[in-house]
Symmetry: C2
Subunit: 255 residues, 2 copies
């Protein structure tokens, strides 16, 4: 039975805590958080919650599910040496962790919302360890959680995180812009949801490059001009222009 | 039994032809296309395909599923008067149609790909007619196709089309950018697909505004700087900056 310690109380920490508790092969040894009140609704046994970081015990894997800015400090304060300590950040190298530890990364590539349960099974886990011999330990745990476990180097992970910002954060913001346009015109946003679903569903059969449609790729200048006339917010207009130009650049380059 | 005539041979025309043929309440009277060879694989009875537009007969609804640029010309050439003639454009008013006809719009808000079958049931149809009394006829047909039929004015439809460009064309292009970053780093694009699915699935429970996550909304300047350093293509960098700024504008405005 592997002993797992988790630090943090945010979205990722909470989902990981719940997931560890689901697996009899794992023991949730301790949880430490700067803001333990955020964990109250998980109703953890009181002997698991640790309010003083100095009381954390040696463990098989200590997962630092804290914000990027907090990782170095928390890893400095851990009161043990030579244990496997991993962070869950998509952007930072394992070297931000104190070198007293055997270091690694345990990055679940997903968007976590507290309000919504997550099925870990399909979440890709990107793993990296400082020492080859620790990889298997981390992989064993990740494979309990998920069917999609990848060995991803620090360099690859950085790139992947940028890609994730485009396909998740920025895509979601385009949904927000779409919903704003609808609400300005007294149209229910629901009318766009089938289109949103289909845009994603297409990726199962086509590359996004091949799936591209719309006025930009058709070089339909008349429609593009009309749309630009219609958009009043100047930053939204710039976004429309840049994305149109980028679509045209991609599709010129490749044909 | 309503008689339907369709002109056009593109994605929308082909899907509409197939859909009309599915409903015993409808009769596909004639199909005319400038490029009838594109319709060959539909294996329509030869008496339906019409190679000379002058031979089109009066019909209950004539649907012009042709490109925006072709609508006015085709409507001018139709050899009958006073029939209900509708186009399928998201951007143009019904007034582009020749005023000899009773005019209207029959706009399916979806992205059509020839290679992929479409279930019309969930596709929103946006309807508009010049004369109130024609609305019911058009609505009756749309309701055979779909459970989501909306009365949408010309002004609303224009706005909706801009919103659709954001949530479909531009979203898809962000997928392309993400897939390019992956391929540059020798990472399978598949690793991003669960994240893409979850981004969309969240919309069933949350508004996109409330679902926003990522470095922009967190004002995580350190991560944003790192990402910008990493992106080499200058237009992609500008898109990253603009979308980040837009996320921050939206979330400042509303809090």
């Amino acid at each position: 039975m592997k002993k797992i310690t988790i630090t943090g109380s945010g979205n990722v920490a909470q989902h990981l805590i719940k997931e560890v508790l689901r697996h009899p092969q794992l023991q949730l040894l301790q949880v430490w958080a700067r803001h333990p009140e955020a964990l109250e609704k998980l109703q953890l046994p009181s002997n698991i919650i640790c309010t003083n970081i100095q009381l954390l015990q040696p463990t098989d894997i200590c997962i630092l599910a804290v914000s990027d800015n907090g990782i170095a400090e928390v890893s400095d304060q851990l009161p043990f040496n030579g244990q496997l300590v991993v962070h869950t950040s998509g952007t930072l190298p394992f070297s931000v962790l104190n070198s007293r530890h055997k270091r690694g990364v345990f990055y679940p590539l997903q968007t976590f919302t507290k309000e919504k349960d997550i099925d870990f099974k399909s979440i890709p886990f990107c793993l990296e360890t400082e020492y080859e011999e620790d990889f298997e330990v981390l992989e064993e745990v990740a494979q309990l959680f998920s069917e999609a476990v990848y060995k991803i180097s620090g360099e690859q992970r950085k790139n992947l995180h940028v890609a994730a910002v485009f396909v998740n954060n920025f895509v979601n913001h385009l949904y927000t812009i779409g919903s704003q346009i609808c609400s300005d015109s007294h149209i229910p946003f629901a009318i766009l949801k089938p289109l949103i679903k289909e845009t994603t569903a297409k990726l199962e059969h086509l590359t996004p490059f091949d799936a591209q449609t719309g006025p930009a790729v058709r070089h339909d200048t008349k429609t593009i001009e009309k749309h630009l006339d219609f958009i009043t917010d100047s930053l939204t207009k710039t976004i429309y222009q840049n994305l149109t130009q980028s679509i045209q650049n991609y599709h010129v380059k490749k044909f």
